[in-house]
């Protein structure tokens, strides 16, 4: 029986997977992006060049392709079993978003005036203290707007997971489409809108919180 309630519950399960992909990607890509940003700003060419090349490749090719490469790549190339489906999605998303985030971090870090670092240096702060107490808070302020864009894109990108048959919400709804029931597909839009709405409010709150910093 396909009641509205049963379909909603079914879609909610798919939405759970959507949220899981979103949350895991964010939790892992945010710190990893910072590491990638440091790599791409390194003084050492041997580190900087490969990192920048990686960022170029990841940002220059579709996420869908990366997803397929990571899921099928290991078995095609080495004949070994690769990741399970959900892990492959998480790995692909984390790498992809870490690269996008790294460019945002880089812009944010390079945008902090040199005088800030120098003032900290003159006061005898260590490099670590300078980064965490002086630079990073200003970077956070500078990157909230571009980050909010990227995070909203991530919400919608999760729908790509169905390419390798991970049952996120759109894939679940397509089961009904196959049965001739089209409205559940459009119904998923409501879930996305709700999610994006909450994120919008969160980011607005964050921006208000950080408004006192005039950079």
């Amino acid at each position: 029986m396909n009641t509205f309630l049963s379909i909603t519950l079914d879609l909610l399960e798919g939405f759970g997977t959507t949220c899981l992909i979103f949350a895991l990607t964010l939790a892992l890509a945010l710190p990893l992006g910072l590491v990638v940003a440091f790599g791409s700003m390194s003084r050492f060419r041997l580190l900087r060049l490969p990192v920048r090349t990686l960022v170029w490749i990841i940002r220059g090719t579709p996420l869908m392709l990366q997803l397929i490469a990571i899921f099928y790549g290991p078995s095609l190339l080495f004949g070994i079993g690769g990741f399970d489906r959900l892990t492959a999605v998480i790995v692909a998303f984390v790498i992809n978003y870490a690269c996008y985030f790294s460019e945002i971090y880089r812009g944010g870090i390079e945008g902090v005036p040199a005088g800030q670092r120098e003032a900290a240096q003159v006061l005898g702060l260590t490099k670590r203290q300078t980064f965490f107490y002086v630079i990073l808070p200003q970077v956070i302020k500078r990157i909230t707007a571009p980050m909010s864009n990227e995070v909203m894109t991530l919400v919608k990108d999760t729908s790509l997971a169905r390419i390798i048959s991970v049952a996120e919400i759109i894939m679940v709804s397509q089961e009904y489409t196959r049965q001739g029931l089209i409205w559940p597909l459009f119904y998923t839009g409501a879930f996305y809108l709700l999610f994006i709405g909450i994120l919008t409010l969160l980011f607005r709150f964050l921006e208000k919180k950080l408004a006192y910093i005039k950079v």
């Binding site: 005036p113 005088g115 800030q116 120098e118 003032a119 900290a120 240096q121 003159v122 006061l123 005898g124 702060l125 260590t126 490099k127 203290q129 107490y133 002086v134 808070p137 200003q138 302020k141 006192y212 910093i213 005039k214 950079v215």
Partner: protein, 283 residues
Amino acid sequence: MDFLHVEGFRKKFYNTEVLKGIDFSLQKGEILAIIGASGSGKTTLLRCLNFLETPDEGKVYLDGELLSDAKERYPEGTLREKRKKFGLVFQNFNLFPHYRAIKNVSLASDLAAKERAKEFRREQKRRYREEGVRFAGRLARRDGAKFREEALKESARRAEELLETVGLGDKKQSYPGELSGGQQQRVAIARALALDPEVLCFDEPTSALDPELTGEVLRVIRALKGRTMIIVTHEMKFAREVADKVLFMADGAVEEEGTPEEIFVHARSEKLRAFLKRENSGD
């Protein structure tokens, strides 16, 4: 013996020689004013003194001891200790925009306090262990936390006192963005004083300010008389009034050096006379 002695500072950027061998010395408690046309190397000199740039050649002696030699490579920790002997007030303040005035002033000593507390906790732990006390770790943590709290309180108290000294006792909770240029520069001066440097340097502290705001900053600097200070300035009247010694720089070298009287009244070199004439007609 001179309190501060700078010997043979040379600095090249690519192929241009910006400092061509600078020597000078200063007694404890004296004020040195540095004047000179823009591009003559004044900022670079202060930056070398504060270890923001490494000179290609040159030595600094402080209080009779060799503080730094351009030929030596110092490890980061040593360098930080050396840096703290000097304070620098920047032309454009460089306050930390995300901290309130009081935190701008106390940040460095807060962080130092936290480090010391950590050190103290480790020592206590070792001591408790040696005495065979049970729960050594927990007791040490308690002692460390207490130490830290006391030290932070002291740091905040001192920052408050310094803000009062620069006439900003009522602005301690303001963010830099909420303060005028003159007020920001006064916070920056308090911040530089917080570590009680042996030599306090100012790089054109009023040149980013509207004319009506320079007075309040100069007043604060004047009140610091008694500290050893190096002031790069375009305010000729001010330099003449506060300085014990004046250095005139031209093209990366000390062109003339003397008492304010010798520099401003009995200028010898042609370059200095031309410079003073330009400055006077500018006002």
